[in-house]
Point group: C5
Amino acid sequence: MKHVVNSMSIATVAGTFFGFALILGAIIHGTNNYLSFVSLEGFLIVFGGTVANAFMSYDSNSVVLAFEAIWHMVKKAKATREGLNAEILRLIKWAYLVHSKGLPGLEGEVGVKIKEPLLRYGIDLVVTGYKPDIVRQMMNTAVEAEYERSITPVMVLRNMASTSPAFGMVGTLVGMVIMLQNIQGDMSRIGMGLAVALLATLYGIILARLICLPAADKLMQKEDVMRFRNYMVTEGLVLLSEKQSPRFMQDKLNSFLDPQDHFNLDEYLKKLAPKEDMQ
Amino acid sequence: MKHVVNSMSIATVAGTFFGFALILGAIIHGTNNYLSFVSLEGFLIVFGGTVANAFMSYDSNSVVLAFEAIWHMVKKAKATREGLNAEILRLIKWAYLVHSKGLPGLEGEVGVKIKEPLLRYGIDLVVTGYKPDIVRQMMNTAVEAEYERSITPVMVLRNMASTSPAFGMVGTLVGMVIMLQNIQGDMSRIGMGLAVALLATLYGIILARLICLPAADKLMQKEDVMRFRNYMVTEGLVLLSEKQSPRFMQDKLNSFLDPQDHFNLDEYLKKLAPKEDMQ
Amino acid sequence: MKHVVNSMSIATVAGTFFGFALILGAIIHGTNNYLSFVSLEGFLIVFGGTVANAFMSYDSNSVVLAFEAIWHMVKKAKATREGLNAEILRLIKWAYLVHSKGLPGLEGEVGVKIKEPLLRYGIDLVVTGYKPDIVRQMMNTAVEAEYERSITPVMVLRNMASTSPAFGMVGTLVGMVIMLQNIQGDMSRIGMGLAVALLATLYGIILARLICLPAADKLMQKEDVMRFRNYMVTEGLVLLSEKQSPRFMQDKLNSFLDPQDHFNLDEYLKKLAPKEDMQ
Amino acid sequence: MKHVVNSMSIATVAGTFFGFALILGAIIHGTNNYLSFVSLEGFLIVFGGTVANAFMSYDSNSVVLAFEAIWHMVKKAKATREGLNAEILRLIKWAYLVHSKGLPGLEGEVGVKIKEPLLRYGIDLVVTGYKPDIVRQMMNTAVEAEYERSITPVMVLRNMASTSPAFGMVGTLVGMVIMLQNIQGDMSRIGMGLAVALLATLYGIILARLICLPAADKLMQKEDVMRFRNYMVTEGLVLLSEKQSPRFMQDKLNSFLDPQDHFNLDEYLKKLAPKEDMQ
Amino acid sequence: MKHVVNSMSIATVAGTFFGFALILGAIIHGTNNYLSFVSLEGFLIVFGGTVANAFMSYDSNSVVLAFEAIWHMVKKAKATREGLNAEILRLIKWAYLVHSKGLPGLEGEVGVKIKEPLLRYGIDLVVTGYKPDIVRQMMNTAVEAEYERSITPVMVLRNMASTSPAFGMVGTLVGMVIMLQNIQGDMSRIGMGLAVALLATLYGIILARLICLPAADKLMQKEDVMRFRNYMVTEGLVLLSEKQSPRFMQDKLNSFLDPQDHFNLDEYLKKLAPKEDMQ
């Protein structure tokens, strides 16, 4: 599964790199005076305004998580659609466990291996012996609450993406006010001042479109997939607490998957040995 | 049914062609210096920025599917509203099969003919003998999950349609900064520079309005019709698993159709022979 | 009821005419050179781009229906809130019919008079003798499916209303590029070129605000009222299949009406004779 | 309660007046040539376009109601959150009535006093003796239908608020086209023409922000509170038809109120005499 | 817990201060004529228009609460996610109380300590002995009604945030009209006038982005967390009225918490003594 992760990252990196290369190529083709695209004032106003707005609008914790999301933009999601098959397999194995050793067997087997807090909580509910309806109800609350907590950084990033062009305009207006009050008929100085003023708008759009919005979209998808996976796991845990057969579990959980990728217990059992090392 | 497809495509192609002809006619009428509408820098910035943003915001798989959707914009949907009648007919035939040979008969008859994964999954559920409620629940999950997977390229295209005008503005700002810093009082050179700068905005709007948005809208409709059809098929499979009569199936499934196109079993039975070859 | 239709149309036509008169008055007051508001290029680009986008985004059928909606903008809705009273009366008459002659009586009486496909379908369901719950379920599916089909032209018109100002801007940019590349210091020619270029933006806004959006809003309301009416009729058909008394039907269906317009069976029975000819 | 109404109106009027005073003060401080802010053409195009669009988009009835809403913007809502306590008291009194004289007693007592059509309808349902579930179902339909009818003018006003700036731009474009075609190098005439053209945009924004949107927001809140009150009254009528005790009614209806304003039957009974005249 | 509050405020204040410092640094670096950023007219129009619109759109009460929200922007929420653990502990203590002394014991113990009106109302419902379903239903209504009341100031602030840039544009248009009518060929006076006119737009954007929107976002989160907490408390009260065991209460209420912060009754009981003073 390792090389899938890599090839995916490669496509993402290649596409991103290609896009940036086109933009830079256009600028290099158009001018050789690169310093004319640098405006300290513009940068300070766009960056400062966006940061100030973020810290005033959200708790500092979420803002820090948003910055981290920018950093980890290229990282792959913990729960990918590809990984859902493995999740189903694990749940079916647990179903066999429950059939052979009962619920306490489940506790002993998985208690030490599972690190993920939400999953631990769910298994605890099953092992405690709560009724399937109660398990489903508690897990649904937990999944939704986890989702709500997880997407606050997305809100922060979307907020920054709508703030930074506004401060781009603030920077341009500040630059134009300074420039207009120094007019003394010198046309080339007007042009120079206007060019510097426009750079703030340029920075604002680029900050929004190449940093904040992509990070927000990427994180949103990651959390959407995670929620989807959590609902599938919830369904599986409910089936466990109902002591359903592994076959039924396979058919029910397959409804979450792309029909082309449906988990097939029979095929799996045939090639069981070489994959036994999968956790 | 073939010529319906064609006539539909013809109307679409004719309308599209007519629209483009008007735009080109206007430009040809206005100038004969067509090169003045070409700006390599503008194109590189708009295209590069849109592509980079797409690859940074979504997994590369979805981006590729979005590009394919642009390519196949004119193609007809797999499930058209016109085709729903044929679907109902097929389901009713299966109902007869179930009445005469029982559920195993259904398996033998359709097992080899049906290629579509979702439908295969649904029939398997019915043949396995799950209760109607379980069939409905699993199929609903499967239909919604399929829909969620299918519309990711729509999200990518809508994202590109909002990104490309933004990079059109980036290109124009870059062009204006370059132009403004070379001002030396020569009015006609300013005009030339401004004209080139404005082309990036022009490209950005056209990319969004004539390529990304139409492809997104077309794909969205295709997937909406597909989901509608999948819910109708789900209803039909539930009726099959309830072993309802073909008459009842006709009345219930007709509620999904335009009342003017309602499937009429009696009329169908009269002219059965010539259409027997329909799969 | 005829003169209500007319008076309503008169208010609409008068308001529309008054608004247009103010706009034209302003233009006539401001200039006598009306030709300066004509730009063939601008018109071709706005109209061509909007049409091309519509045909690329939607199936040609819906686009044609959208154009028809523009044409019929002033026409009155088939189902007006005023007409709901007459619908209730008709349903109550059917309730008397069912009480006196049973369900077959309903079939004989209304089978020939009812042209509307959805209503025919609903009555067929009642006459076939389906249980009230089944009738409600099938009719709800049918009403929602009909609504979905009906509002596609609204989507097309809203799409056109957002496309036409974009192509107005395209036209203005094209005009400005042409103008800027022909600058030779002649200030009045620049002004002339700019004026022509701006006309495309003007056309784009007017096409959106005085044609596409009003047609979309009008059609949307028409279909919303129709859906509301269809749900009321569904409720009435369910009551028929439950063989409820006409009194109960009156009270239940009145919940859909403005309390001031509640249908009153007693008052109706008093003045029954002169209105007997109402179908 | 009268002086609450007044003090509220006073705060609203004072705030509004204060805001307008600041705007006018700024203009008076900036110029003494007030005629330069008058443009007949601009006003005609903005007002005419907005009116024409409204009459084309909505039935004339709703447009007239929207104009009335502008007029009555300052008026207080029929059902205020403050008045909900009195509503609960009234419902509890009716509960005593039903306990002492039965449902017919309710009819005799309130039949003549209640003018409001929706409430009359609800009481009629209770007095007729329908089951609580039926009462709730009918009243819910009636409340939602009333709400739908009531907010159409809000839609009209929001539509006008988005139309008027668009026609402000139309007016500015018309003014600029006229001005640009009369350029003859006279710089001050260009400035004058541009100033007049910009006035249309100014009018469009002010019409939207100081007239249409405030009227829409005010009306929306009024209708939201009314719906909230209607659901509370529905709950009360259902409790009446369930013949619940006044205590239970108090506890259940209090859930709709701000906990700090909860109705307390005991306190009310203590000071019953001086308030007996409340209807 | 005190220092958590402080450290959180410190991060917020630091981030905000840092952002503002960057903006001011940019201005100081760009000019030393700070008076050129002051425009009394611009300020009066933006502030006056925004205030007038707010008072016309909403009742004066909500507008005052909105102004208070601006003032208290940095204050910490009453119910933080961190505080939810303490809430659960309190509910579990009450469960012990109910087990040992019955519902009246709950009344005596908590009747005097609880100041919060919503919680008092909920406990009264439990003590009165209403069935769990009734308690849940009433509390849900109360929580939603409280939420609706609480977020009106958020609506006011969002309204102000969309109004103030519009009046920024009004101020700029007014300034440009005044300037354009005084043109007499003096280029530097035009520049000066334009600079002053642009300041209104600058003020409008800053008022929206650094005052209104952050205050709205902060208040919205505060109320969202409060609602989340209220639903958790509702769940706890329902469990109390069901006389569930403290263990079950722990497991059920934990579903609202981050799995990493789950309340653990056993761990709590171990270190009970030092925390006994917690209320």
